[in-house]
Symmetry: C2
């Protein structure tokens, strides 16, 4: 089998984990679950040299220092520095154009948590085998709840290796449809993890978005290396339409496939999602830092070092970071990104 190259995407910032996540220290680079950051854990999951080649990281200038510090000198890593943000189709195209045509890319967002790395490795191996056969493979993450914040993959016919054709891509549904999907059982979450053969991906991108491919080719051809960094040409890159790989390629190709993955995945999309991903005590509480709880249930307290005492609360999240304190219900966690302070940090 050909080499599997992890392609790790580090974009975006997000305000939904304020006050811990900030413009200067965004979510992938924080130790939200355990001692590793989400980025470090993503690199580590693809760190077995028997299965994986050195990673290609695609990021922007704003995050470059974090990326390089948290790569901890991984041998052979390449960092593609995007001059501006152009969504995932462009980022993956850049990585593909820097790799051999026969390589298998395993595209991984760096702001998700995966609680079961062995299940991830098994799904990655199955996805790579299907990518060898020129399938464009999404990880179909087992839906655990009627989430309305994710896209869904509708499973089609089996194609071997434990994989399936994708019968249909479904945009974020309303709650009633999400509940139908969950009851149906034939739907999975689209978590943005993919396996592609480079040549196949580029062929499909060229077929459905020739302008993106052409501009990405020019950006790479006119780009320059600087040690482990690669800088695409900024003028050519700026011409690329900002489109997700789902929208540009996956929803158009006849070769879309999926492998089921039940791997304790979470996008850690807000503080409540983080609470669910963390180890909790018998009362459902999870704490970090010097915290005293009295008569609490299902409470998450994350302190950067200040003393926090919580009395009598249930389903509440308390976060202390620097000069900022957040106290929210579990349900209110969805509104954190809209706080004035979070939006204008």
């Amino acid at each position: 089998m050909n080499t599997v190259v992890p392609v790790i995407l580090c974009g975006g910032s997000g305000t939904r984990l304020w006050p811990r996540s900030r413009a200067t220290k965004p979510k992938p680079f924080l130790p939200l679950v355990g001692d590793s950051t989400l980025f470090e854990a993503t690199v580590a999951r693809c760190g077995d040299p028997v299965r994986f080649a050195a990673p290609v990281v695609v990021t922007g200038t704003a995050h470059l220092a974090h990326v390089e510090a948290q790569l901890h000198g991984v041998a052979g890593a390449q960092v593609i520095v995007e001059p501006s943000a152009r969504n995932t189709a462009a980022a993956i195209a850049l990585a593909a154009l820097r790799l051999p045509e026969e390589a298998i890319m395993l595209v991984c967002p760096s702001d998700h948590h995966i609680g079961d790395p062995q299940a991830f490795a098994a799904a990655a191996a199955a996805a790579a085998r299907l990518a060898e056969k020129d399938w464009l493979v999404s990880f179909g993450i087992e839906a655990k709840a009627p989430e309305t914040g994710f896209g869904y993959l509708h499973r089609g016919e089996a194609i071997g290796e434990g994989g399936f054709k994708v019968a249909r891509f479904v945009e974020k549904p309303d709650l009633a449809r999400a509940e139908q999907f969950l009851a149906d059982g034939g739907y999975a979450w689209n978590g943005g993890i993919f396996a592609f053969k480079v040549a196949t991906f580029l062929a499909e991108l060229g077929a459905h978005r020739p302008a993106i491919l052409a501009a990405a080719r020019e950006a790479v051809a006119k780009g320059g290396e600087d040690g482990q960094r690669f800088h695409p040409d900024s003028v050519a890159f700026a011409r690329i339409d900002s489109e997700s790989v789902d929208y540009a390629v996956m929803e158009n190709t006849a070769r879309a496939a999926m492998v089921p993955a039940d791997m304790a995945w979470s996008d850690i999309g807000n503080w409540q999602a983080l609470h669910v991903a963390l180890d909790r005590d018998g009362m459902g509480n999870a704490t970090r830092g010097p915290v005293e709880l009295v008569d609490c249930r299902n409470v998450l307290v994350d302190s950067d070092g200040r003393n926090v005492a919580v009395i009598g609360l249930e389903d509440v999240i308390v976060v202390v970071d620097g000069d900022d304190v957040l106290v929210t219900t579990a349900a209110g966690a969805q509104k954190v990104g809209k706080l004035h302070r979070a939006a204008n940090q």
Copy 2:
């Protein structure tokens, strides 16, 4: 009528308003309601020179610096510095022994809030007139709830000036009895505010606690002045039994009286009591400092300057002070003093 001398008691520390109240900055000296501290407000309530002489403050060495700073140079004030804490019978005896026999003492704790100073002034005037007639007068604070944390005064026969004999002093009742008292209407809270003629108080103290009077006399006789400060002799003072004035005098004298007082009084006994005493917005919320509330009702946030955002909560109190953060339900506010951090500050 004789001069009315405010006798302001500043003792104790307390942990129930942690983290704002601390051993180094106890409750009387904090601006908990409005911009004045409870001590400043107590001095100001007795500041009308037509009605009141300069105050006598009784405090300990630990609080002396706060007292002198917050007296703001009130002319003629005297500060009695207790060498150790001996409860209210001793503190009032010291003040009495430093005053003319015909003076009327108005004894005021300095850690309570009174929302209606005019009602206080009216009750004080009535109490002073009864004290002239050798009654030992308690303020009977109109009971607004079946509180189990206060003693109660049972109203007896009317004695003129709007006052009544005290039929009975009742120790802190259980909830069922407190509810009976509230329904009965003949019971009032004992808030520890008194009016006594000096000679009458000393005579009653001598009759019921001669040892306390004798030791206090010796402590004053052997004490020394130092500017506005008076230092009782520490050896004699240390011999005094630690008793409340209620227990030592009021429950024993045949001259116990009360004047009803409906003056928006609160002992600010915990954070929930403070919340009730504060001005609140239409949703019942009260905030101090840079605070953002979303979907909150009956929330109190008191921040020393850090940014606090609260989402979706009801009947919750958030306090930020220095390196300490408290989050509690209204009901949980009663447990604050038992937090490890509060008890071991």
